[in-house]
Symmetry: C2
Subunit: 278 residues, 2 copies
């Protein structure tokens, strides 16, 4: 028997992956969670049938979610990660020696349990003493926070279901309020190939929420729609890409995708993306 | 009826596209040629069942094949394009006002006929008076050429079948001989996600063929394997990315992917690609 998993990125195009076996399949309180073992990309985590991460290309996504904001704001002492229950973003954030604490706010306890069981390379940082894991709705954890955070990272699913609230002006306003004066928000912002409408509204909402500077950057992620992904950084002041190297050298050498040239290059957008943002 | 075309990029992973109809299907002297109309990417040209180009993302591939080399060697007067019977590379090359002549060397006359019939936006440049179309084996057209060409662009299929000869040290040596002192070769060099073995041997062969400087660059191409593609520039002298803007301004504005920031950014390689090249 040949078993293939196909994710339709639009009703008319998709990625198809040969599957060795299903390792986990359960409906949690919030969503359907499946773990498949693929031939090509190692283990694959699906939420509501959509590819969240694979062992083979997760490093591109997680490095690019975490290192650009933490290089742009290199003195960060605390980071709040909303979503990202697999632990990949936490693992990357923990590489910064100056970081005192990482809070992971994941709505679905079962995602963290599944990550601990099936994705140890991603979830290994969750037991670090600097990490606090909170099971709460990401749109609620910010309530009452004022001028307290250095960096908020939004490692969400697509803007459907539970994650919909994380793509609203209201949420961005809470982030703005929770961040310190020099603070920044960084969020995954969907595919420039298929989701320019979403990207445009993310930009408009972030500016309306009071952020002074909003900039997008990109990287290839083979198992994501279009194979090409974007992230957005929103800052309370002008974004400057510094030449600092806040990480110990061995971390740069061990990274799969990110390096300091990539940091600058990722912000150079193709014409079609620039036009979509106009 | 739902009709889907699936290209397996490896035995275990692929791209799947919904098809409206088949517009053309014939076995030429050299290969199977199919033109499908897709829902998502417009018309799709297949050679031997593999995606060559689609209306929607062809511009990324063709702009990135042509403009980096012609910016790095901005005074080029003549360009030889090997392969590329669809005309997309010719169209891009013709944008340079200083260019006196473009020779397109395509082995398969039927590819050019199909492009003229089904891909007028790609093939429109083929009737330009500066263009000469030659139907010949790309590995043979260089015989006898010595110190005559400014730029050779290799717009080939994968290194199987007719294109295999275009991925050999012998071919690269012929290119080296045919190029003028400052001349450069640029070739599509497969996917950094799936084809690092090929990429490594391309690099080794180019250096052994006598090129002084060999550099790879990348861009996302959604319908190509891994959604992430590479090209290689081989030069008889050190490659310098100049700040010149050899194109009229309107061409920069009208491009889909390329711009002068992208030119520099595309050469910033991710760690995994750098390591593959070591």
């Amino acid at each position: 028997m040949e078993l293939w998993f196909t994710e339709k990125h639009t009703p008319n195009a998709g990625l198809t992956l040969k599957i060795k076996r299903t390792l986990y399949s359960n409906r949690s309180e919030y969503q359907q969670i499946d773990v498949l073992e693929t031939e090509e990309f190692g283990r694959l985590l699906l939420l509501d049938g959509l590819v969240m991460t694979t062992e083979r290309d997760e490093a591109i996504y997680h490095e690019m979610l975490v290192h650009p904001p933490l290089h742009i704001h290199p003195g960060s002492e605390n980071v709040l990660i909303i979503g990202g229950g697999d632990g990949g973003a936490v693992r990357e954030a923990l590489k910064y020696p100056g970081l005192r604490g990482v809070t992971l706010c994941e709505i679905d306890r079962e995602v963290v349990e599944v990550a601990r069981r099936f994705f140890p390379r991603l979830s290994k940082g969750l037991d670090d003493p600097r990490v606090e894991v909170v099971f709460e709705d990401g749109s609620k954890i910010l309530q009452g926070l004022d001028n307290q955070l250095d960096v908020i990272l939004v490692d969400s699913t697509d803007p459907i279901g539970a994650a919909k609230a994380l793509f609203t002006k209201k949420f961005y306003s809470s982030c703005h309020k929770a961040l310190k004066e020099g603070g920044i928000l960084c969020a995954q912002s969907e595919s420039p190939i298929y989701h320019t409408d979403i990207i445009r509204s993310i930009k408009a909402d972030l500016l309306e929420a009071g952020f002074q500077d909003v900039r997008f950057y990109t990287a290839p992620v083979p198992t994501y729609p279009g194979g090409f992904w974007s992230w957005v950084i929103a800052s309370k002041k002008e974004i400057k890409i510094s030449d600092q190297a806040p990480l110990p050298r061995e971390h740069y050498e061990a990274m799969y995708y990110f390096n300091r040239e990539i940091l600058k290059a990722a912000f150079c957008l193709p014409n079609f993306f620039k036009k979509a943002l106009e």
